[in-house]
Symmetry: C2
Subunit: 596 residues, 2 copies
C-alpha cells in the first residue's frame, strides 16, 4: 500500500524564504499568518491528510460510489467520517472571510493544504474542493440574502457544493446549452434539463448539496449571452435556515470511470427544480468564471499533488528494491544485489519528477499569492498586476501542470516494473486518478486556446509584458553571480525562445488565426517551462542565500542539484516547442476532414 508524507518543509521554505509572505502583512489575514501559526496549520493539515485521508484512498478506489434505486448515492466506507473530521477542523474555510465563519487566512495557505489533501486522496478532496469553488462564486456574485443563507453552512462543510455546466451535447461550447429556467411568480425559477459529468452531484457526505447550475431563462438570447447562473439546493432552505422539502433535482445515474472512483460523477436531472438566480440574468458565464478559475487552480494542484505522492512511492521503491548491480561496481556487495537507485536512468526518472514537483509547487503558491494580492491589496496597481498575472497563468497552470503531473505518475509507475501495473501497489491508481485533471475544467487543448486567443492579447499584451519584465529583471539581476549563472543563463535562453514564440504568434496569428491555434499547445508548454524555470531561479537564489547565511543542511545541496537537473535536462525543451509552433498551420490544415 502506498504511503504519503506532506512536504511541509518545502512549503515552509517557499512561503518564508522564496515568497516572503511576511512582506505582505498589510494584506487582510496575512498579519495573522505568523510563521508559528503557518507551521501549526501545515503540520495539522499534514497529519490529517496522512492519517485520515490517505488510508482511504485505495479502499475508496476499489469500493467506488454506489447509486441506489431511489437516486441516493453512498460514498465508500470511511468517507463520511473523514468528511466530518475535515469539516470540523475548519479546513474548508481556511481562507474564507470570518464574516462567513472562515479563518480568513491567506489563500496561499489554503492552496498548500489543498495539495496535501489531493496527494492523500484526490477523489475525496474533490468534495470540499468543489464546495470551495461554489462558495467563491456565491461570495462574489450572490446577494446578501443568498450569502446569509448558504455561505456559513458551506464554509463549515455541512452543506457541500457542485458546479453544473455540461450537458450531453455541450461541453466546451456552453453556448449550446439547453437547460431552461422558467420564471415563477415568486421570483424564483423552475429549472428543467439534464446535466452530465457532475462531480459530487449526489452523495451522503453533507446535509445538503448546493448546486450552481447554468441554464437559459425563457426568451434569453441564443449563445453564451443568454446563460444565467442559479442556485439549486437539493433540499429547500427556509427563512430560519432549516432544511425543508426535497427540490426537483435528482441523480439519474453515476458514471463508471477510469479513476476517481470514490467521487460520484453524476447525471443530474432537473425537473422543474426551484432555482434562485445568482448575479445578473444572462451574465451567468461571468459568475461561473469565478468558480471555474478557482476550480482550475484546484485542478492544477491535483496535477502536482498526484505527481508528488507518486514520486514519494517510486523513490521509496527505488531505494528498497534490490536488483542488478551498479555499472561502476557493486555498491552493496554484501547483499544479493544493489538497490535500483544506483542506476542513472532510475535517478534521471526520479529527478525529472522531483524537479517538476518542486517548481510546480512554487508556481502554484506564487499564483495563489497573486490571487491574495489581487483580492486583498489596497493598492490598485498591485491588484491589477497580480490579477493580470493570475489571469495569464491560469491556463498555463492548468494545462501544463496537469499534463506533466500525469506524465510523472506514468514515470513513477514505471519505476516499479511489473508491480507498477498491479492494483495492490497503488501506483496505477495515481495514473488513473491524475488522468482526469487534463480533461475536466476545460480540456487542456482549450486552455491552450484560451491562452493564445484571449489571455495573450488581452489589454495589448500587458500581462505577458509584465511577466517578461519580471523574469528578465530577475535574470539581469542575478546572472553576474557565478553561483546563479547555471540558473540565470539557461533561463535567459528559455525566455528568449518564449519571446520569439510570442512574436511569431502575434505576427502570424493576425494573418491567420489557425497559425496561432496550431501552435497553441506548444506555446502553452513553452510558457510553462519558462515559468517553472523562473521558479527554479527564485528557489536557487533563496537557497544560496540560506547557504550564505550559514545553513549547512543536506536540503541545501539537494535543492541546488535538483534545480540544476531541471535547467540542464528539462528547460531546453523550449527550443523544440518554438521550432514546432513556428511551422504554422499549413500542413496541419492541409487535409480534408474525411482524410483523417
Amino acid at each position: 500500500m502506498p504511503s504519503y508524507q506532506a512536504p511541509i518543509d518545502h512549503v515552509r521554505f517557499l512561503l518564508n524564504d522564496v515568497f516572503h509572505i511576511e512582506r505582505h502583512a498589510n494584506l487582510a489575514g496575512f498579519a495573522d499568518a505568523t510563521p508559528d501559526l503557518v507551521d501549526a496549520v501545515l503540520s495539522e493539515a499534514g497529519k490529517l491528510c496522512e492519517g485520515v485521508l490517505q488510508p482511504l484512498n485505495q479502499s475508496g478506489d476499489r469500493e467506488g460510489c454506489v447509486r441506489h434505486a431511489d437516486g441516493s448515492v453512498t460514498t465508500p466506507k470511511g468517507f463520511k467520517a473523514a468528511m466530518k473530521t475535515y469539516a470540523e477542523g475548519g479546513w474548508l474555510g481556511l481562507s474564507v472571510d470570518p464574516e462567513f465563519g472562515g479563518q480568513g487566512l491567506p489563500y496561499v495557505i489554503s492552496a498548500a493544504v489543498g495539495e496535501f489533501a489531493n496527494s492523500a486522496n484526490l477523489a475525496f478532496a474533490m468534495y470540499p474542493g468543489l464546495t470551495q469553488g461554489a462558495l467563491a462564486a456565491l461570495l462574489t456574485h450572490g446577494s446578501p440574502e443568498q450569502k446569509a443563507t448558504y455561505a456559513a453552512k458551506m464554509t463549515a462543510g455541512e452543506w457541500l457544493g457542485t458546479m453544473n455546466l455540461t450537458e450531453p451535447h455541450c461541453g466546451t461550447d456552453l453556448g449550446l446549452l439547453k437547460t431552461k429556467a422558467v420564471p415563477n411568480a415568486d421570483g424564483t425559477y423552475a429549472i428543467t434539463g439534464q446535466k452530465i459529468f457532475i462531480s459530487a452531484g449526489e452523495h451522503d457526505l453533507g446535509e445538503n448539496i448546493i448546486h450552481l447550475v447554468l441554464a437559459r431563462i425563457e426568451g434569453a438570447p441564443a449563445g453564451v449571452k443568454g446563460i444565467s447562473l442559479f442556485i439549486v439546493p437539493k433540499f429547500m432552505v427556509d427563512a430560519a435556515g432549516k432544511l425543508g422539502a426535497r427540490n426537483g433535482v435528482s441523480c439519474g445515474s453515476i458514471e463508471h470511470k477510469m479513476g476517481i472512483h470514490a467521487n460520484s460523477t453524476c447525471v443530474m436531472n432537473y425537473d422543474g427544480a426551484t432555482g434562485f438566480l445568482i448575479g445578473e440574468a444572462n451574465r451567468g458565464l461571468n459568475a461561473m468564471f469565478v468558480m471555474m478559475n478557482e476550480a482550475r487552480l484546484g485542478v492544477t494542484t491535483q496535477g502536482l499533488a498526484v505527481s508528488e505522492v507518486a514520486y514519494q512511492n517510486a523513490a521509496n521503491y527505488a531505494r528498497d528494491r534490490l536488483q542488478g548491480r551498479a555499472l561502476t561496481g557493486a555498491k552493496q556487495p554484501d547483499k544479493a544485489a544493489d538497490p535500483i537507485i544506483v542506476h542513472p536512468d532510475v535517478r534521471r526518472t526520479l529527478l525529472t519528477i522531483r524537479a517538476f514537483n518542486e517548481a510546480a509547487r512554487a508556481f502554484v503558491l506564487w499564483s495563489a499569492l497573486n490571487s491574495d494580492i489581487a483580492h486583498r491589496s489596497a493598492d490598485a496597481d498591485m491588484r491589477r498586476t497580480a490579477d493580470d498575472l493570475l489571469g495569464l497563468m491560469t491556463p498555463i497552470l492548468k494545462g501544463v501542470l496537469t499534463d506533466l503531473g500525469f506524465e510523472n505518475t506514468v514515470r513513477a509507475q514505471q519505476m516499479l516494473g511489473g508491480h507498477g501495473y498491479i492494483e495492490e501497489w497503488g501506483m496505477e491508481q495515481f495514473v488513473r486518478d491524475a488522468r482526469i485533471a487534463m480533461i475536466y475544467e476545460g480540456a487542456n487543448g482549450i486552455q491552450a486556446l484560451d491562452l493564445v486567443g484571449r489571455k495573450l492579447p488581452r489589454d495589448g499584451g500587458r500581462a505577458v509584458q509584465a511577466f517578461f519584465g519580471e523574469v528578465s529583471g530577475f535574470v539581469s539581476q542575478t546572472e553576474s553571480d557565478p553561483a546563479m549563472a547555471p540558473f540565470s543563463g539557461l533561463l535567459r535562453l528559455a525566455l528568449g525562445d518564449l519571446q520569439k514564440a510570442t512574436l511569431w504568434l502575434m505576427q502570424n496569428g493576425l494573418a491567420n488565426p489557425d497559425n496561432a491555434a496550431a501552435g497553441s499547445y506548444d506555446y502553452m508548454h513553452l510558457f510553462g517551462l519558462v515559468a517553472l524555470g523562473y521558479m527554479w531561479g527564485l528557489m536557487a537564489q533563496a537557497t544560496l542565500k540560506l547557504k550564505a547565511d550559514g545553513d549547512t543542511s543536506d536540503a541545501i545541496a539537494t535543492r541546488l542539484i535538483v534545480g540544476q537537473f531541471f535547467m540542464e535536462r528539462i528547460l531546453p525543451e523550449t527550443r523544440l516547442r518554438l521550432a514546432r509552433l513556428s511551422t504554422g498551420a499549413t500542413t496541419v490544415m492541409a487535409l480534408p476532414a474525411e482524410a483523417f
Copy 2:
C-alpha cells in the same frame, strides 16, 4: 463502443510498394506470398479481427478472468469460441515451417496480422502471441523428440504456451532466480519454485499449456550462467501424444491489474513438477532469448496496435462531435456547431498519432522482413546484416514504439473530452491496456541500457554503422529530388544528431559508464525518431513513385501531408534528445540515495 478497421491498404502499400517483398522470392515461403495470396490473408485476418476479436474487447475487460478454488481459471465469455476460430483458421502457424503444420509464409505477413489482432483485442492476442514465442524457442533449441511432441499441437493452437521467468525477488536480474531443478533418474527434472506475473499461465482456452520455465539445476553456478530452460507441460504427454496426468504446476492466484483484464496474469507454483531440459544445461538464458526477442517484437506491435485503434476512434469522434466554431468562420453554418475536427489543435493531435502509426507500422514490417532474411536467406552476408539490424533495433522498437504508442492512446482519449474518461466509450481501456507494453518483456529503461551497453558496441559497432550507411545512402540518393527534399533534408539533420550522440556516448561512456546510462533513454528515443523518419523517407519515395506512375488517389496526397507533419513537427525532437544526453551523468549521480 469503439470500432476497428484493419489498415489493410497501408500494409499492402508497405509490402508491395515500399519493401517490395516480391524481390525476396528466393527466400523460403516468399514465392508463395503472391500479392493475391497476401491480399486474401490480410483480408481474412481483418474480418476475423474486426468481427470476432474486437467485439470481445470491452466485455473481456469488464468481465476479466476468474480463478476458482481448484486453481482453474475461466476467461471471459466468448474467448473460448474465439480461440477455437483463431486456431482453426491456422493463424498461429502462419509463418511456421510446414513440417510442424504451419503455412510457412513470411514472418512479415504474420507480423502484420499480429498488429490487427492486438488492435482488436490485446488481452486476447496475448494467448496466441505467447504461444508463438514459446514455439519459436522450442523450434530453435528443442530436440527432435521435443519438437515432435509439442510443435504441431502448438502450431494448431490446441496447446498454448507461456514463458516463466520472473520470481518475486527477481525480475530484470535473472541471475537471482531461485526456482530449482533436481535431476530425476529418468533424465527429467523435478522443478520447484514460484513464478510471478506469468501471462496466460492458466486458462481454459486450450487442452494443454506448455510452460517454458527458467530454473537452476542443483549445483549449477550462481548467477545467469547457472540457469537452464525447461519444458513443463500442464498435462503430461505420453509417447503417442495423448494427454496424461496433471503435472505438479498450478496457478496460486491471479493479479488484479490496471488493464489487460482478459488475460490471466498468474502466480505459478511449481511443486516438483516434471520438467524437460530444452537445449543445453546452464544455457537457458540463451534459449530464452529467442523467445524474448520474438516476444519483444510482439510487444512492439502492441504499442502500434493500440495507438492505431485509439486513433481511429478519436478521428471518428472528431468528425462527428459538434462543438464550437472554426476560428476562420463557421464551416457548417447550417448546424448548431462545427465538428471539432475544424480545430488546428485537434488536427495536430490526430496527425501526431497518425504520423507515428504509419511510420511505426513500416518500422515493424521492415524489422520483420529483416527477421525473415536473417532466418531464411541463403546468403551469409545478407543474413548477418539483417541479423545485425534486427538485434540493434529490437530494444529501440520495443522501447520507443511502446512509449509513443501509450502516449498516443492518451492523446486519443483526450480528443473525447469527458467521454474519454468514461469506461463505456472504450478509450480509457486503450490507455490501460497499452500501458503494460512499456513494462513487460524488459521495462523500457532496460531496453535503453541493452541498446547502449550491448547492441551499440557489439562487433565494433558494425550494426549501427550499417544502419547509418543505409540512411545516409538514402539521403544522398534522394535529396536532389525537389519533391523528396522536405523529407531527405530533415532526415539528414536528424541523422547528424544521432551520429553526434553516438560519438558522444562512445567517448564519454568509455570514461564512465554512468554517462552512457544517464543518456541511454534519450539515446533510444533519438534513435527511434531517426528510424521512424527514415521510414517516412522510404514511404514518401514510394508514394511519389506511385504518383509519377499515375496514381491520383486521395491516399497519395494524404500520405505526403502526414509524412511532412512528422518531419516538421516530430523529428526535430532529435536535437533536444542530443542536448539532454550530452549533459552526462554528473548532476544525475550527484545525490546520495537518501536524498531522493
